[in-house]
Amino acid sequence: MRTYQDLREFLAVLEQQGQLLRITDEVSLEPDLGAAACALTQLGEASPAIQFSNIAGYQNARVVLNVHGSWPNHALALGMDRDASPRDQFQRFVDGYSQYPGEFRRVKDAPWQEIVVEDDVNLYDLMPLFRLNRGDGGHFLDKACAVSRDPDAPDNDDVENVGIYRLQVKGPNRLGILAVPQHDIAIHLAHAERRGEDLPVAIALGTDPIVTLMAATPMLYDQLEYRMAGALQGEPYQVVATEKRLDVPWGSEYVLEGRMLAGQRELEGPFGEFPGYYSGCHRYPVIEIDRVSHRKDPIYDAVYVGRPWTEIDYLQAMTTSAPIYAQVSADFPEVSAVNALYTHGLVVIVSTKTRYGGFAKAVGLRVLTTTHGLGYAKVVIVVDDNVDPFDLKQVMWAISVKVNPDHDVMSLPNLSVNPLDPAGQPTGVANKMIIDATTPIAPDVRGDYGQELDTPQGTDEWRTRLASLIKDLR
C-alpha cells in the first residue's frame, strides 16, 4: 500500500487529491478554529482537511484539522483510492489486522529533532493552543500519541503502549491526562506508582496518518501499535527512541518528553466528548514536560470533537469495527462484516450467514461479550450476509421488513457500558438490545419471505462499467 513518512507527505497527497483546504486569511484561535472544523463535518462525507496559516497572535503557526475527517481522507490514509467504499476500507483494515505482527524499525535521526527546547519549556509559546467547544475547561492536545513502557517489563517491546488520550494543557509544562483504569497507560502508571516512581512518557503530535489510527485502535495489552502499523502498511514502521527508550514515530511534528507524576491526581475537564456530551470534571493524573522537540515551523494537528458525526467518528470507525470482527468471526466464521461506526460502537451492525433459526441472536450476544462490546455495544443489529452493514439504506430495509418485535427484539438487563454513555442507570450500567433483522429460517418459521427481489441479469457488469464512466466525468 502507499505509505506516508510523515504528516506533511500526507497533506501533500490530500492537496493533490483536492482534499486539503488552505485558509490564508487571518483567523482567531477562538472561536474560528473550532467553528470551522465543526462546520466542515456538516458538509457531507467528503470534507477536506483544513489548514490555517495566518493565526492571530502567531508569526508562523500552522494548524490542521479534519485530516482524517471524511471517507476519502480515511481511504487515502490507508493507501487506497479516494473513492473506496466504507465496506472496502473495513476489509482493508481487517486484512492488515490479520497480518499482525508486522515489523517496526528503529532509526537514529528524525526531522523532529531539529529544534530542542529544554530550559523553561513553555507550551503556550511553542503551540497554537485553543479551545474547541465553549464548555471545554481549557486547551487540549486531543490527537497526540502518548507512549509509555511497563516499568515492570521495561525491555518488552510488546507491552510498550501508544495511545491517544486527551491531554489538558494546565501550565507552561504541565498536562492533565484522561487515563481510566481500562487504558494500557493506566496499567503502566499503576506499576510505576507501586514502585514509588514517576512514569516516563513521550507524546508525539502531528504524526503520519496510520499511527494515529493504530493509537485509536483498542488492541490487546501485549500488542504493539507499531507492529500493527507495520502489518497494515506491509513494510517496517519507522520509529526513533528517546533517551528514556520510548519509541516515537519518525514522522512527528512535535515530541514532548516528560513524566506522569506518581501519586498525583488533579482537576481535569470538562471536554466535549465523542458521545456528544461534555465529560464533566474528575481528578486525573498529571504529566510534567521536561523537553520539547519539534520540526522547523511545526504543524499543529487537532481533531474537532462534537455531536456526531465529526472527525473523531472516522478515527474510531474501522479501528473499532475490525477488532470486534476479528473476535466474533473467530467463533462464528459465518460473520462477514461488522459496522461499529456509531459513537465508538455503542451501536453495532453485524452481517452474517445464518446456520439455523435463532443463530443471529447468538451472534448478537457474542458481540456483547467482545472486549470492546463489554463497555460499548449497547444496541446490536444483526442483518443477513447479503445486506451491507455499512449501507444504512440496506440496514433500514432489513429492519423494516424482517423484524417482528415480538420475536426479534431482545432486551438484556443491567449490563456494563462505558461511563461516558449518558443513558447509564446507574452510570456504567444499561440494558442492552439485540435486534435480529435477519430472515427467519427453520425451525424459526414465521412471516412470508418466499420471493425476495434480486437484480436483473448483468447488473454487476453494468455497475463496474458505469462506475468507471462516472469517474471519467470528473
Binding site: S28, L29, E30, P31, A56, G57, Y58, Q59, N122, Y124, D125, R131, R134, G135, G137, G138, H139, Q168, V169, K170, G171, P172, A179, V180, P181, A186, L189, A190, E193, R194, R195, G196, G263, R265, E266, L267, E268, P270, Y278, C281, H282, R283, Y284, P285
Partner: protein
C-alpha cells in the same frame, strides 16, 4: 472604567468566580491577546474569546464550578501505594 472593561473582567474567574487569577501567556506577536488562568479551577480564557468564555456574568450556568466541590471530585485511576504503605485515597 466600565464593568465590561477587560481589566475588570480579568479579576475574577468566569467559571468559579475565584480571584486567584494570573496572566498565563501573551501572544508571541505582541499585543494581540492575553491568556488568563485561574489557579483554583484551572480554567483558562483568552482576552479575544467570545464574551461568554471570559465574562463572569455571561459565563453559561451549565459550566460553572463551585470551588468547594473540587476537592471531592472522583479520582481516576485510583492511586496505587508502594507495598507496605497504606492505600492512598
Amino acid at each position: 472604567m466600565s464593568d465590561r472593561d477587560p481589566d475588570v473582567i480579568a479579576r475574577k474567574c468566569p467559571r468559579c468566580r475565584s480571584t486567584t487569577i494570573d496572566t498565563r501567556a501573551t501572544s508571541p506577536v505582541a499585543g494581540v491577546w492575553i491568556l488568563f488562568a485561574c489557579s483554583t479551577c484551572l480554567y483558562v480564557w483568552r482576552s479575544t474569546e467570545p464574551e461568554e468564555n471570559r465574562d463572569p456574568d455571561r459565563y453559561p450556568n451549565a459550566f460553572r464550578l463551585i470551588p468547594q466541590d473540587l476537592a471531592v471530585l472522583p479520582i481516576l485511576p485510583a492511586i496505587q501505594s508502594r507495598p507496605g504503605q497504606l492505600d492512598a485515597e
